[in-house]
Symmetry: C3
Subunit: 632 residues, 3 copies
């Protein structure tokens, strides 16, 4: 199987999206000259070029792209070539209105923007395959080609009749027959029993709350349909040259596509990441996204998009300050990236993204942005021996898309309970302490980890539950966060107390969830007293030691943090959301007990340390200077 090493060939990749179709040909040579000046060695071409390549159903115009690829190749610049299927031309929507996606309200979304396709519409599917095949047929052996980039930021959702039809088939595959469907969806509630497959629909507009598993299954189904679109195009291009690896660009932690399943379908994983320069937690969030994508792919990955300046979709689109693009690029490399690409090479003069940052901004080469881009190119070129090397971690965080989607369904106990906030509860203090984390699926291999964190597994299968218990029994340390072990994969609530399958493992029984509208006090002799917010539980220790307990109020005295020896290991349950400083104290204790150490101890605040291969990257996120001495 081809992979990222076939693209890097041992050196770090550097470049960005290149949209030559937006510029007259005389600009192209200038582009190549400036790319070389900047140290660019890979550009992504053709992402939105469908209409430029196939201006009418029966007409292809490849000449311009021939020229561009030859020019790039002549300049020593490689190409990630896209199947341009994320934005069909107007002629497709006009001739086949059924390819235009419908919202839950039945209203079609038209062309004039992008992403206006129904993933199930046969006319879209065949047109997308046709253009993908045509592109691949022409360029699969072009010497500049190094990578296939399929589609773009998959995420489109539709509720049309095509989708309804495919959804029924998907449900039939999953549940066998209508009895199975009725049983799983709990249609006995509210008289929703289906008597005929033809009655079954996507979750369109309703009077009140939708059936939760209808909602969740539709999320799963939509993900599957998008993955079908991806794999069909992947196979189409592979057929022309199996040696060229295939990827598509993920977005920062994104609920609609299950990263584990998508990564498994790719030859290499790549990420679009847009931290907000105005967000004080941006560096931490960026680190988390990067650790996630490294974990999805199980090794080095490609930063497919970041902005050298502003992200134009932000309400306040502040550019990156000088040095910040370098800093975050180095963070990507430190955390496993083998390449740093940007959206985009040359700032567009027109279109909805004309104010998005670019490597070559509107101001032109005589600009601080372009000068920084050139400096970064030189610096990356000097980092020899990094590409392909691994990042190792002693800690794993369980990341599960089913739990994510389920815990954010409607009418759960706390409407503001967000899965990614729960991940952050655990990730942020470890990041501050320079403890490197991997992410794993609930059934992933855990052998190499001293510590496994489960910030939340609201929905958990018996299999996952057993897998994690066996990890503890074998000597591991596990920390489970609140509102976990509540439902099974069919979103049936576990009865008899929570965390359903883990009461014995964790030595606790939760009778009631207790969402909070105001903070509570928690007392702990070992951790110090602290406050907790948003969430508490009516707990009873059944075998676990109480490390912290609620102080005052209705839940006075109820255990809030519990610890239990189980087999050869240790299991913790955290039944609330401690304030960040308390989480840091708690996780320091857990790490110490589990033998987890930071990359470097005692670093000044704002300094991030990551070990990749033989190198330790030290990244200073604050302004001002710090002095760090090598331990003598």
């Amino acid at each position: 199987m081809p992979g990222l090493h076939d693209v890097t060939r041992g050196r770090l990749l550097y470049g960005g999206d290149y949209n030559p179709e937006q510029w007259p040909p005389h600009v192209w040579a200038d582009d190549v000259r400036l790319m070389r000046e900047a140290g660019v060695n890979l550009v992504t071409v053709g992402v939105f070029a469908w209409a430029a390549l196939q201006p009418a159903p029966d007409r292809y115009t490849f000449d311009w792209l021939d020229t561009v690829l030859d020019l790039l190749h002549g300049g020593g610049i490689s190409v990630a070539l896209a199947t341009p299927t994320a934005s069909p031309p107007p002629w497709l929507g006009h001739r086949h209105p059924d390819t235009l996606p419908q919202g839950p309200d039945g209203i079609r979304r038209l062309y004039g923007s992008r992403n206006q396709y129904c993933p199930c519409a046969p006319a879209y599917r065949s047109a997308a395959l046709e253009i993908s095949d045509a592109v691949a047929a022409r360029y699969a052996r072009h010497p500049a080609l190094r990578l296939w980039h399929i589609g773009n930021e998959y995420g489109t959702v539709c509720h049309c009749g095509h989708c309804a039809g495919r959804f029924r088939g998907w449900l039939r595959d999953r549940y066998g027959d209508l009895d199975g469907l009725n049983d799983a969806w709990g249609t006995a509630v509210w008289s929703q029993r289906y008597g005929d497959w033809a009655e079954v629909l996507p979750p369109r507009r309703v009077q009140y709350v939708i059936n939760p598993l209808q909602d969740l299954d539709y999320q799963r189904f939509c993900d599957d349909m998008l993955l079908e679109c991806f794999t069909a195009e992947r196979d189409a291009v592979r057929a022309h040259n199996p040696a060229v690896p295939v990827t598509t660009n993920f977005m920062d932690l994104y609920r609609h596509t299950d990263g584990w399943r998508w990564a498994a379908a790719e030859d290499l994983v790549s990420l679009d990441t847009y931290p907000d320069p105005n967000d004080p937690a941006a560096a931490m969030r960026a680190a988390m996204s990067k650790d996630v994508v490294r974990s999805l792919g199980g090794g080095p990955w490609l930063l497919a998009e970041q902005s050298p300046g502003a992200a134009s979709w932000r309400p306040v689109a502040t550019p990156k300050r000088p040095g910040l693009n370098r800093l975050w690029s180095m963070q990507a490399v430190a955390r496993g990236a083998d390449g740093v690409l940007h959206f985009q090479w040359r700032a567009s003069r027109q279109g909805a993204e004309r104010f998005h940052g670019a490597m070559l901004p509107h101001a032109g080469p005589d600009s601080r942005v372009f000068r920084e881009i050139c400096a970064l190119g030189r610096e990356l070129a000097g980092l020899s021996g990094v590409a392909g090397t691994p990042v190792s971690a002693d800690v794993a965080i369980v990341l599960d898309w089913d739990a994510w989607r389920a815990v954010e369904l409607d009418h759960l106990p706390h409407a503001e309970f967000r899965y990614t906030d729960r991940l952050t509860d655990y990730y942020a203090p470890l990041w501050s302490d320079n403890v490197t984390c991997d992410f794993v699926p609930g059934t992933g291999a855990l052998g190499g980890y001293r510590l496994v964190l489960v910030p939340n597994l609201y929905q958990v299968s018996a299999r996952t539950a057993a897998h994690l218990a066996s990890y503890v029994a074998g000597g591991g340390t596990l920390v489970v966060g609140p509102f976990s072990g509540v439902t099974d994969p069919s979103e049936r609530v576990y009865t008899g107390g929570w965390p359903g399958p883990w009461q014995d493992l964790l030595g606790v029984r939760v009778e009631e969830h207790w969402p909070l509208d105001a903070p509570i006090a928690v007392t702990s002799s070992s951790l110090g007293d602290f406050t907790a917010t948003m969430w508490a539980e009516w707990t009873e220790a059944r075998g676990a030691e109480t490390v912290a307990a609620v102080a005052g109020g209705t839940l006075d005295g109820r255990p809030a943090v519990l610890r239990k020896s189980f087999g050869a290991g240790t299991a913790w349950y955290v039944a609330t959301i401690p304030a960040p400083d308390a989480m840091r104290r708690l996780l320091r204790r857990v790490c110490a007990e589990a033998g987890v150490a930071p990359v470097l101890p005692d670093l000044p605040p704002g300094v991030e340390a990551v070990r990749r291969g033989d190198l330790v990257f030290l990244l200073h996120h604050d302004t001002g200077e710090v002095e760090i001495r090598r331990a003598s």
Copy 2:
């Protein structure tokens, strides 16, 4: 006529909604056993069982319900049996899409949730009657049957063509001909004159503000259509056994259904009430709902639904703390309830309400919730002699749905002026002082009351106005709140000053309404100075004594509280919204003058006292202990 006494047969009812169709048959016996343990004597069955009873248009499946009713009867548990028409099965919407309701935007709301019916659709009407008739035919003589529960929480609104057709007929009945309609609706404004009945429509989506009487009449019409649905089903079940009383469950103060008219169509009234445990004013609001429903029915009533734990539709669905369900249950009994039912018996494992509280929670019988439920059952069983006894009050508050709907129309002077807030302005201080109140319609019998409060009658008919004036003339005391006497029942503004028909009664003329964007100061030698918010008026005393006047600003010196002797009685006008403490001082003075006394004087804060029959209920809403000594 049958009534609540036929259900209670002298003892307080206790139980909840029971949805056996959600559970395998082996659970049913366990349910009955646990119900007996809890002291349950009445359960509501079949509310959402349409699809379970009629899985296809031509097929009925009553066996399971036969078994359940026999089991319950065998266990000594009575049944309130529902017509399951609140949630039609998917087959109805699929075969008759015209039964699916349309929003003002014309978009149909589909099945997959509940309530997806157009109250005017002939196919819905006939299917609902058919299933109601079938259920009644089978069970009207079942020995467990004690009560019919029609539909559920009526409130569905639709804007489809069926509704348009019925609306035209409704308008023709009300206004006679198009001239009458044009005159009433004021279609001379903005060129809205109708020349043909076919032009007349529900208030669908428009460019700007809708015609106010078109809006108001449509609210009245929708209420009538729902009431037609109710009465048709009521008559269908009555035909099978006139001895079984009929009810439907009201929601807490709810604008869409006029409680006076609905109560008149029922054999007994029942209430679903869901105070928010996080709301500091929850006990007061709950008391108000209960006093309203007692007043609607004119005597004892049934608490049809409350949650033993959380209400899952709340954004922060905090459960009830220990003792709170008992406390609020006792409040219901104190305020006239002859039974306390819950939604629901056994917590659902599936569906949109799976996190709603239940008598038998997910944790099972070994839980503090179930233990409290059992204790409450025992306690209620011990309250002999309470069922059927009356609650008496010296104070009546006028509650009027037309005024409510009208004062919340668009483009009135203050968009945040809410009718129920105005009720609370008056109810809350009296509740704090343990003065018991009834509610009355504007034309209700007032003979027994020392004091009548009109928090707001923005829209008032000449008849109601005269009725209340004659009450005062005969010696009564009346207090009228702000923005009253403004329009007639066709929403025509009274001219010549306000309160239109009450200027003489109240001795005041209001020239201008003066909504406020900031508080104002009011001065009063007898009440003490206070602040007022949201609303003031350009008043002139014409015969009334000025008790309080605005201090400073544009309205400096204008009377804000006025008092006038009228005939043998006294009439007050409150032209603003005083701060709560000022309202309390004002109402204490009014009560003292009118000879209205609290149930018990000088109780500690947080203690509610209600007299029912021979008993005084003392309800302590705060935590901690209080000592109350019987007057020697």
Copy 3:
């Protein structure tokens, strides 16, 4: 050409909208009597009378209007007669559903409110022309007629198929062919290239951001369609009597209709203005609206609508305090109004605007409002010699609808950057200092002005840029605000640094726009230090003197206010949004250098001074008293 002088005939106009069709005939004589008492000499009749005049397609009912006009004439009251086309009768929408406008979602907006017409629908166009012609044919020679009032507050937008068809024609006229369209719209971005005119659509609902020029062009197109509606009706009534002038009523600064183009199509300009009495900046905003409308018409103008009390569409519709209507009326006269009209004469009892203020309020003639109306009528009658006199100004502010619409497109760097806020940044301090301003289009004659202000010209044509540069070269003083000179009229971003065509004129090069999420500090030895908000820029002085510079943060030291001599004049660039007090200091310095003086110096705060003809109006906006002495 007829003009406002034909309406005033030398005296100030006074009156309001009169809707006799809402009242029985016996009220009409009373109206005329009370109008005379109030000094009314002009009323606007028939604005919403379409259905009253043409109750069915084939039937006209003019008798009532004959009577009304004769009565008014008999009372010495002149009439502005409307074409009643702003609100078609229900019969039009019912018979021609295609005249009902569609939103971007395709949902039609129905009758029952007002404005429910598609400006492109042939059936609407012909019906509107027919009724306009019929009204004009009957009344064009009526002796009461003094003015034609076409439609009402034009602003309706539709997205239907008629509009799509006309839009294609409009685009063809503008861009010649599809290549021209594709080039201008930048359809190479996101694969939006059009291959057939039939594919081109209005900006209907899409998945993500719409093409920006598709959006902007549709705004331009909709404006043109409304202007077509206006001119067609104008020509229809003119044909019956060319001596009667024609107007339509503008709204306060309104983005959807380009005031310069509309004013050019009218014989006189008129304004509806509704400042919020609760807004502390209301007087300033009102003054700006009035200066704008005077500038649009190039001389005296007509105040067509203001409320004597509340504006009923406000969420908190507080009335005007005593004296406020007089004060704001005098402000209008001071700033060039030759007449003061109100909406409306007699308060409606019905309809959506029944709580809107009126000259004759619901309370009737015995009211403070009516007494003030009568006093104002007397006072205006006493202001002889004012009508027709000019207001002169040394300062001009550039006002440009293309820049306005463009700078508020989606996905620009700061979502809260509002064009009218930018105007206010400059207008407000000058108003506080009693410096009178005109407004001018970007290519307007500037010879008479000592100072020209460009608060924002985000989009600017080469022609406008050159015109303003030549004004400076010739000795003028120009101040340009931030985010200017960014795009050309096809919304193509200028490259090479900003302000694109003005780098030489202003002596500055902007590399990056720097929207702010928090204030920054700016230091200036001459202006004093200050804070600035929302916006900054990465500037480099290239010939200009730095008057103020950013202090601290990423942009530390970058020029924020620059000044450059250019030719015989001076050009300033303000690259940020200084706090109001700093703007005042800056503009005082600029005015002093440019020789611009206030109307009167050293007035107390809250006193506005305007010179009109030989009079100086002194308007005191605060409560309390001030003493102003004539300079000795």
